[in-house]
């Protein structure tokens, strides 16, 4: 039944030449595969992670040392997130170099929002381990936010009690595990829908 459902998401027939590997390099699909791994590994990490400034770091230590396969799952989440970002960058480059973004303009805009949300998800996830690297990388990123137009306003919403503060960590956590991933999923499905609508690799047939 699941297989039948998946089948119905795709057109019955596809344009033959669009299936040539060099046409898309499969980069969009590969990005989504990496994203699915991020969701699964992220859910597993969320079972043990504590989004509280004094305990966050200890919960990461606990995951690495006491949870069976915990260290590997954390490595998996990290490696998948780096791969995901690289694939999205490459996908954007492919879309530009093949001129696909010129004829599918609405999907291009959605794609740029997906890029932005993906980078933002990476940034919010960076703080969660609450180690020196996480704390200061986030702090440095936060200084960059301040330079932006309305930067102070955005900074105060995102970081109300300083990097590493209780409220800030909760906001980063909520953004990282719920708000941004759900936004990415919704936009991804609109993105896929538009690929078919715009007669891309999966036209309506």
């Amino acid at each position: 039944m699941f297989k039948e459902f998946i089948k119905h998401l795709f057109p019955r027939v596809t344009i033959k030449k669009n299936l040539k590997f060099t046409y898309t390099l499969c980069l969009g699909g590969l990005s989504f595969t990496a994203f699915l791994i991020l969701i699964i590994s992220g859910i597993l990490l969320a079972l043990y992670y504590t989004p509280e400034p004094n305990n966050a770091y200890n919960s990461i230590i606990f995951i690495e040392e006491n949870v069976s396969g915990g260290k590997y799952i954390r490595n998996l989440h990290r490696f998948a997130s780096n791969t995901f970002l690289v694939l999205i960058f490459l996908h954007i480059l492919r879309v530009i170099y093949t001129g696909a973004f010129l004829s599918r303009k609405y999907n291009w805009v959605i794609g740029l929002f997906l890029l932005f949300f993906s980078i933002f998800t990476g940034y919010t996830g960076y703080l969660l381990p609450m180690d020196q690297l996480a704390f200061w990388a986030t702090q440095t990123g936060a200084e960059l936010i301040k330079i932006l137009p309305f930067g102070d306003y955005i900074y105060n919403i995102l970081i109300p009690d300083g990097v590493g503060g209780r409220l800030t960590l909760i906001r980063f956590y909520a953004l990282h595990i719920i708000i941004l991933p759900v936004s990415i999923i919704i936009l991804s499905f609109i993105h896929f829908f538009r690929v078919r609508r715009d007669k891309g690799v999966l036209p309506y047939l």
Binding site: K7, F10, P11, R12, V13, T14, I15, L19, F21, T22, C26, G29, L30, T33, A34, I37, Y57, I61, K71, Y72, N75, L76, R78, F79, T83, L85, L93, V95, I96, Y97, T98, G99, A100, F101, L102, S103, K105, W108, L112, I119, G122, Y123, Y126, M130, D131, Q132, L133, F135, W136, A137, Q139, T140, G141, L144, I147, L148, P149, G162, V163, G164
Partner: protein
């Protein structure tokens, strides 16, 4: 229409599904193996009053940090180019219907993109490898 274009179209199942399946499996294996060899970094517990020198942002934001080190207002260039790229397709009318690699009708865009890509990679490399204490260049 489909009957008249038998050579143009191909059944999704199995041809297209096979490609999806193979590429997904390759990507999953790649990530599973990569995670085995590359440890996620974990340093000492965060110390808000003990800043590392230099303090660097996440790798994917390093180029923006490097750019901002030359002048904070360069950040506006990023926003400007982001907006230009976002609206660009709405102003260019004559384009091939199908995606074609490096087609001459968007040669200028491709060259501009390559220059921007080169700048981003260069800034990232400088920030990652050559920025030492107090953000001074060093080897």
């Amino acid at each position: 229409m489909i009957e008249n274009n038998k050579d143009k179209y191909i059944k999704s199942d199995p041809y297209f599904f096979k490609i999806i399946k193979i590429s997904s499996i390759i990507m999953i294996i790649f990530i599973l193996i990569g995670a085995y060899f590359f440890d996620a970094p974990l340093e000492e517990k965060a110390e808000p009053y003990n800043a590392p020198n230099p303090s660097k942002s996440a790798w994917f934001l390093l180029w923006t940090q490097e750019l901002a080190s030359y002048g904070s207002y360069y950040i506006y260039l990023i926003i400007l180019f982001f907006i230009i790229y976002m609206v660009m397709p709405f102003f260019i009318k004559k384009v091939p219907e199908n995606a074609i690699w490096f087609h001459k009708s968007y040669k200028v865009i491709n060259i501009l993109t390559t220059i921007i890509l080169f700048i981003i990679i260069t800034l990232t490399i400088i920030a990652y490898f050559f920025r030492k204490e107090y953000w001074l260049l060093g080897f």
